[in-house]
Amino acid sequence: MVQFSLPSHYDVYEEENGYCFDTDSGNTYYVTFIKYPPISEYLSVDIFMMNIDRADELNHLNGDKNLVRNTILYIIWRFFSLHNDALITICDIMDGRQACRKRLFNRWFNEFADGELSKLEATLSVEGTETYASLIFRTDINNKESLETEFSLLSDINFYT
């Protein structure tokens, strides 16, 4: 069982099509999961793409106590305590800050995962812009080796272009 050791987080509630939480600074974060079937031999498990969006993109205030970080990690923990599927995240390219997002998420993940979750990363080009994809799964998943091979194949064909 994946453990969660960050007790302090915002309340997450369901909304039409997904989940959200409200921050002390008055912003609302939306977390959506979109489900995709296995993709041929390249990814043989069900995949959920997780997206994180802010209602107010100009409000970057996250407040104290790392509550936004904790809440996002709580959502990931909750997902993996209930599912043994793979989660894919692709860094948003809209504002050109995809490398920052990748670094930030890596730092969070490394502080939190504690060996129970694994993450594979790849670079992909979207409409000529480089961004980053991560595949997250439980370390004890049965087909870890094949997932690693399959994700590597995806990276080799550049996913997309």
Binding site: V12, E14, E15, E16, N17, G18, Y19, C20, T28, Y30, T32, F33, I34, K35, Y36, I39, S40, E41, Y42, F48, M49, N51, D53, R54, A55, D56, E57, I75, R78, F79, L82, H83, I88, I90, D92, M94, L124, V126, L154, I157, F159, Y160, T161
Partner: protein, 59 residues
């Protein structure tokens, strides 16, 4: 000759697989952009309706 035919068949199938994968990821990126654009414009997820996107509530 048989080996060559098998190789060609295998290559075609691999090409087909790659096309499927690329189409899948194009769809993912398109879905992601559509959801983000809607939230940025409306400030909410309420009312978003795209039948081709299969939202899940796995929590």
């Amino acid at each position: 000759m048989l080996n060559k035919e098998l190789l060609m068949k295998s290559t075609v199938e691999t090409r087909k697989d790659i096309d499927i994968v690329k189409a899948s990821f194009k769809k993912m990126m398109s879905d992601k952009k559509a959801v983000s654009a809607y939230i940025r414009e409306k400030g909410t997820l309420k009312g978003f309706n795209d039948g081709s996107i299969q939202f899940a509530k796995p929590l």
